[in-house]
Symmetry: C2
Subunit: 262 residues, 2 copies
């Protein structure tokens, strides 16, 4: 079992730290620039706390950096971890930002959407692992496998991880924002968002065993210009959402034409 | 139990007709401009078939029009249904298109995404009902309640139904297209779409009991310009998807600012 120092106390750090402690690892210390949340997390984990990068506990086996990506770059400039295994948990940051920071480094990226308020089982979540040598890789793969199960651990280089992160934004952040738009439009018209939930559930069920491209429906796919125009007119009072409606509808229609021309 | 004539043989007509027959209703006839699919559906339902609007069976109790919205307008011009209860199944078309068509008319709109290949349980799906008088409304509400359960039948006027249909496009058609984009990007980079499925599932679980606006995560929400720029650069080879990425990210950031300023 490893002694771990966490740099960061956001959503990813919180969920990872909790899960690692559950599996018997020991969190020695939580570092964070902001005190309040970080202290709570440290207390919960029975770990030390610091907001001074120069006071990092040097007794750790692994240093896990879960900071916003610009903060990560700053920390990487300031601290040298010597030979200590140092990993970050970011989808889009290259492993090489840690090159100057430690002789042993890698990436430990859980591909999931974390919100502090929600409990999340890490079991079944894809972990993307990268390391500077095979010994470190093996260590990280084992640590991830204990959390999520062997079948869900993937060795991916920084380029592949970035592609997956872009795709993750398209399937998580963006759909969630579209749900928020729908909620706002309904709420302004005194209609309940809940009425859409069966439709949302089926949208997801469909793509669990079918290609999304083949599951497309709706006015843009049918080329139903009359309906699209009516929707755009309704959206006059929501100019930003109107732009989104127009652009995605065009993209759906374009994909449709590509297929028709094949 | 009602004798029903269906105009249309697409996804909605197919699923509705099957479900109504299961509940003991009789489909007398299927009308469609195109022969092949319509004949298959008619055969399956043990119903007659015609592609001539002048040969519609006049013995029906209810005429259900599930045509593309422009075809609906055409048929409405050509046929007079006299006193026969005539309904359409469209989210965005006003009930009044049926005003000149029959003395008894209404709307029978199941808010779900139908694909022919998929079996769908209508139980639990919201049905939006509208009618020109309370007798017809009662009849349609009862017919819908038998399919989906009383709690899922909503009386909604044409304006409300249109707002819901716009929202439905935002929570179903558009997210599905974003899934298709992710699938395409991954496939072009030889990465498996399946790896995203746990993330997609959690995206939906989160909003089943939380407001989507509060569940937003990701680089646009965090204001992580560095990551956003890297993603945009990666998307150079996908110009249309790049535009979508930029526009939705901006919208997420804008909503974020609105909240911060509150």
């Amino acid at each position: 079992m490893a002694k771990i120092v966490f740099l960061g106390s956001g959503n990813v750090a919180t969920h990872l730290a909790r899960a690692l402690v559950k599996k018997g690892h020991k969190v020695l210390q939580v570092y964070s620039r902001t005190k309040q949340n970080a202290r709570l997390l440290a207390a919960e984990l029975d770990a030390g706390f610091t907001n001074d990068p120069l006071k990092l506990n040097t007794g750790g086996d692994i240093y896990i950096i879960s900071l916003k990506d610009n903060a990560l770059a700053e920390v990487a400039k300031k601290i040298n971890f010597g030979k200590k295994l140092t990993v970050h948990t970011s989808g889009s940051v290259s492993m090489n930002v840690l090159k100057e920071v430690s002789e042993n480094y890698g990436v430990f990226y859980p591909m999931q959407t974390f919100s502090k308020q929600r409990k999340i089982e890490l079991a079944g979540i894809p972990f993307l692992i990268e390391a500077n040598n095979s010994r470190n890789e093996k260590l990280l793969v084992e640590m991830a496998a204990a959390l999520t199960g062997k079948a869900n651990v993937y060795r991916m280089n920084s380029e592949e991880r970035k592609v997956l992160h872009v795709a993750a934004v398209f399937v998580n952040n963006f759909p969630n924002h579209l749900f928020a738009i729908a909620e706002e439009i309904l709420s302004k018209n005194r209609l309940p968002f809940g009425i859409l939930k069966p439709l949302i559930s089926e949208t997801i069920r469909k793509i669990m065993d079918n290609s999304p491209a083949r599951m497309q429906t709706g006015p843009a796919k049918r080329g139903d210009k009359k309906i699209i125009d009516e929707h755009l007119k309704f959206l006059d009072s929501y100019p930003e959402y109107k732009k989104i409606y127009r652009l995605i509808s065009k993209s759906i229609a374009d994909n449709q034409n590509v297929k028709r021309n094949l």
